[in-house]
Symmetry: C2
Subunit: 372 residues, 2 copies
């Protein structure tokens, strides 16, 4: 097995990228799906934003580079535009802002406003908690009605009451993939809109929001995009919805003219209306480095390597005679970039592995999750 | 005047703190009320969080320091607890999270939920835009009704329909101070709650939320707290409201047990329920440095120096015979840490000053704003 692994490394077209990340000695990191590793280039970018842009430029850095600024004002759009090709969107359809949770709230509310007379937001039982909780937040306000169905019964739960179908493309626990195009079509046939949570997809595997005809999407900046702990998230809105899009978190940075300081809100013309407060410049700076690096490597190549690695891992387990119950789909084209194993002592297993320098994570109640 | 200025500098008990900030050569920075200067200690803190905590610690850094982590999980509460004494609150009443705008939305919605049958949110015409826009966002959802009054007529606008009075303690444009205690009392007598926006107060002048009997507050991290561009903001909720507080942005980090991954939302017991998504660790790290430094200098001393500086500035203008219309109160105990001047060419004046290394800012349509 060690021979086979060495042969794979020697033939790996991505091997050179290992040196672009600061991974600690002696650690085998299988948790990029929880927190992406640190790109080496982040150091210089953060020193630049802190020393030059903040320390020396001060408020002048909000201006465009043409007049000596650092372009802070447009960062959210600029980085959104760089994320767009990773998810099959046009640059003007994506913006980097707030957290995944906050963006979910905005877009669930926006979808409900686009489907007057319907209140149901349909999702999957066991979806990532924050997705379900943000529906619950709107439900407690009397604006939404949460409906959960098992994965296999989602299609039949799509009736004329459903305003929005909200699903996570790659399941955080099992890694199982939804067929984005088929479910989007089914939702549209029922007159509902679709919001895809791409937190476990973006930067890990090819995603094509346009081909699927998706309406909305959100995603995470700190997992596969390597934007750092708690990095800003992103949001996608298909251009056909821009003109009618009304989201409730109408902060001053989403205004058509933030510096006119008028008493009344008027949304910015495009995706910028999803912004709320002042952009988090330090976090966005680190996110941009991660996005640039992932885009340079290429999601197709990353995905191919991830699949090969996870298949090899399962093969090694077989050779070693380790019997662990796989919670992920066996076929690597039906799962995201992770392998999940069910075990009654999964927590202890995870701790023991970490103590040996192999970092994965535990997901209650009984899942050991390894990212590849 | 130059002699007088030198004498003041020589006798200034805070003079030594100048060296704790990285201010560029040749710049006179009068815009800390827009973006606070860079504390030198931020460099080391950011290098630590990037290299050691993210790069080496990876997901282990979420844990408490006792088990080798960096305490990321509790950062929002820890930094909130450090901001608390700057605003006259108890440590368990403040949390550092999201943006001022997002926190406004949470607390306006929470106040409306605590006053069933009332929908009016009363504020001042000309309040900082994001405060007014966040009310408008809830109004567009049918949950609130925005009512604006002139400053002098706020008391008479406080009738039995008002759920919440939302005001900014120091006006962003004029620097004028509200009497926090008197207005809070008036609101309570009308059966309304009060939410203070402390964006232009926190770290600049003493604030006593407890003495005023305030219900809620929000504030900004990137102005006087020197947390960096777009730093996380904070929110205060008086402890008496904690048990009943329901806010709509119910993300997974506000859950009582975020890592139980249950389908149903249950709020964390205390102020932690105001959290929404994963905390922005890089931004919080920079914010903590700023908060620590401001706390060390002391808000009382900062305020005394700020008042002395602004009074001396006005005296110099008089001596030089510069006739500028002061938009701020003349008495320095009735204004925050700024002087605003009205001038039809305020924009050009501001640009000309910046070109000479004197950085203030312009607020449309006709205000030149200088922070001290």
């Amino acid at each position: 097995m060690v021979e086979a692994a060495r042969a794979r490394d020697a033939a790996d077209p991505l091997a050179g990228y290992r040196a672009r990340f600061a991974l600690p000695e002696g650690v085998i990191y299988l948790d990029g799906n929880s927190l992406g590793a640190l790109p080496l280039a982040t150091r210089a970018a953060m020193a630049r934003v802190i020393e030059r842009e903040w320390g020396e430029g001060l408020i002048r850095s909000w201006n465009t580079p043409e007049v000596g600024g650092a372009g802070w004002f447009d960062m959210a759009s600029r980085i959104g535009g760089k994320i767009a090709p990773l998810v099959g969107a046009a640059p003007q359809e994506v913006i980097a802002c707030d957290s995944t949770s906050v963006n979910l709230f905005k877009l669930i509310a926006a979808a409900l406003a686009l489907r007057p007379g319907r209140k149901v937001v349909l999702s999957e039982a066991g979806n990532f908690p924050t997705d379900l909780y943000m529906i619950a937040g709107l439900e407690a306000q009397g604006l939404a009605e949460r409906r959960l169905a098992e994965r296999a019964r989602l299609a039949e739960a799509l009736d004329g009451e459903v305003a929005l179908l909200l699903l996570t493309h790659v399941h955080y626990r099992t890694g199982e993939l939804f067929d984005m195009a088929a479910l989007t079509r089914a939702a549209h046939e029922a007159g509902a809109l679709v919001l895809w949570d791409l937190s476990h997809s973006t930067g890990a595997l090819p995603v094509d929001l346009h081909a699927a005809g998706a309406d909305f999407a959100v995603g995470c900046g700190y997992k596969y995009l390597c934007g750092g702990p708690g990095a800003p998230a992103f949001a996608f809105v298909a251009e056909r919805h821009h003109a009618d899009l009304r989201q409730p978190l109408t902060g001053w940075f989403g205004h058509a003219a933030p510096f006119a300081f008028s008493d009344d809100y008027a949304p910015a013309p495009g995706i910028e209306r999803l912004q709320c407060g002042t952009p988090p410049v330090l976090g966005l700076t680190a996110l941009e480095v991660g996005v640039d690096l992932i885009a340079e490597i290429g999601v197709e190549r990353l995905h191919a390597k991830s699949r090969a690695l996870s298949e090899f891992f399962l093969e090694c387990l077989g050779t070693l005679g380790v019997a662990l119950e796989l919670a992920s789909p066996v076929a690597s084209d039906q799962r995201g970039s992770q392998l999940s194993f069910r075990h009654p002592e999964a927590y202890a297993l995870c701790q023991a592995l970490i103590a040996r320098g192999v970092i994965g994570d535990f997901r209650a109640p009984d899942v050991l999750r390894l990212g590849f």
